[in-house]
């Protein structure tokens, strides 16, 4: 049953991928990419990777979609018609794919319990058998992520931080409205692309004229619902942050969820109001503080006489030390990710409102 469900989802993935290649409308491709991530995340649950599913759902279909939409709102969202194939690209892709398939031929089969990866006493077996007594948290992924391979996670946090400040430096500060300095065809009527596919049968909802006729809806229901939902979202973010030891979740996922509360607010009430609640300078401090908390934990372990990120020295009892170490480190990740994600949203959404 497991394998069947996994394979069905995999087939869905393949169909969606074909759709993404075929569609010329970028907006549709982005919506489908969101669906693609959702399916992938569903499949990850079926394949027991609950933490990965958690992250992929939050990032792949949440944050990514919003970033893409933000970028599309600056640029035009239809791909120009072109000759639809490139033999060179096809050849490269097929060559790489052929090589990969050749490589899989003597790989362990799906679900094999005797493969090298599953039986290595140094890694998988050790984590499964010892992590409970060496590190503590029942969620082995958390133990490995924050303790055994905590150094990787340090690098990962820096990658998030780097993306945050890179987008800040590329997009931030002074903004120009798109089209103001556009040498080629300026995007005059972007709304037309909305109805690209709806021309024949039922363009009834989407015609640009009609959209212009009702430009500003009041959306009272949305506003009320959002205000009701946001506290729960933030609460859920905190739960994911602090429950990551026992169930799926952790700093990264919590940061994304926490940020999505603010993003939701920004979508409904506008960027200006959101910025009044969470000013960009506060975000900059958050980003830095989270990373510094992580680095600081590393420094503290060294000051106390251990190696870098050796949490055992943080308390008299090794398990307590691990607990504190993982707690601080995950908190650092959560803070940085919250800051970076909200900051990304600000940068991609600030078209007209600044």
């Amino acid at each position: 049953m497991e394998a069947t469900v996994a394979n069905v989802l995999l087939t869905f993935l393949a169909v969606t991928a074909v759709g993404i290649i075929m569609l010329r409308d970028l907006l549709a491709a982005v919506i489908l990419l969101g669906a693609y991530s959702l399916i992938a995340a569903g499949a990850f649950v079926v394949m027991d990777a609950v933490d990965v599913a958690f992250t992929e759902a939050a990032v792949g279909s949440g944050i990514s979609t919003i970033l893409f939409l933000g970028a599309l709102s600056f640029t035009r969202h239809d791909q120009k018609p072109r000759p639809n194939h490139s033999w060179m690209a096809l050849f490269l892709a097929v060559a790489a794919g052929g090589l990969l398939i050749y490589g899989t031929l003597d790989m362990p089969y799906y679900g094999s319990a005797t493969s090298a990866a599953q039986t290595n006493p140094g890694l998988a077996v050790r984590f499964l058998e010892e992590s409970g007594s060496e590190v503590g948290p029942p969620n082995i992924v958390t133990s490995v992520l924050a303790s055994y391979r905590g150094y990787d996670t340090l690098g990962e946090t820096m990658v998030v931080f780097a993306a945050g400040i890179a987008v800040l430096s590329i997009l931030g500060l002074k903004r120009r409205r798109p089209g103001e300095n556009a040498p080629l065809d300026a995007p005059g009527d972007k709304t037309t692309t909305l109805v690209v596919n709806s021309s024949a049968d039922d363009g009834s909802i989407a015609s640009p004229n009609e959209m212009k006729r009702y430009p500003r809806q009041r959306h009272r229901v949305l506003q009320v619902v959002t205000k009701l939902v946001i506290p729960f979202v933030l609460m859920f973010g905190l739960y994911v942050q602090f429950h990551g030891d026992y169930g799926p979740g952790g700093g990264f996922q919590a940061g994304v969820i926490f940020a999505s509360g603010f993003i939701l607010y920004g979508l409904i009430f506008g960027l200006q109001k959101t910025r009044a609640i969470m000013p960009p300078s506060a975000l900059r401090i958050l980003m830095c503080l989270g990373l510094l908390l992580y680095c600081g934990t590393g420094l503290l372990t060294m000051v106390l006489g251990g190696n870098l990120l050796d949490y055992n020295v943080l308390a008299h009892d090794a398990l307590h030390g691990q607990h504190w170490g993982i707690f601080t480190v995950e908190l650092g990740v959560g803070i940085t990710v919250t800051g970076v994600m909200i900051s990304l949203f600000y940068n991609f959404a600030s078209k007209r409102s600044l």
Partner: protein, 122 residues
């Protein structure tokens, strides 16, 4: 036959990867390239997770008092990192696309090349 059943998931994943790679190379639209990159990376995540699955296993979160078969947690950890890296790269790429559009007025690769070719050397 057993081979096909056992390796089916890997093969589909490879096909997905190549679809992503193809979009990245063949499409002129810069945004579409990044969509392709997303597709490509998600497929790699899938490849890793497929490796970690143990038939009849359960998620690697310890259950008190029981000794079930757990799936391999190592690929999960690696992919958590890779997902983060992936979204970070896309964010930077999209920011670049926005700036490119502001500067050139287009996000089609060949049009940008034409504009650049017409410009004198810096």
């Amino acid at each position: 036959m057993e081979k096909i059943a056992g390796l089916y998931s890997y093969w589909i994943v490879v096909v997905l990867m190549m679809a992503g790679l193809y979009i990245m190379i063949a499409r002129y639209n810069l945004t579409k390239k990044i969509i392709g990159l997303g597709l490509f990376q998600t497929s790699i995540f899938y490849l890793y997770i497929t490796m970690g699955k143990v038939a009849g296993g359960t998620a690697p979160i310890l259950i008190d008092g029981e000794q079930p078969v757990y799936s391999n947690p190592v690929p999960h950890v690696l992919i958590l990192t890779a997902i983060v890296v992936g979204v970070a790269t896309s964010a930077v790429a999209l920011a670049l696309i926005v700036r490119i559009y502001e500067e050139y007025g287009t996000v089609e690769e060949d049009e940008i090349k034409a504009i650049e070719a017409a410009e004198p050397e810096a």
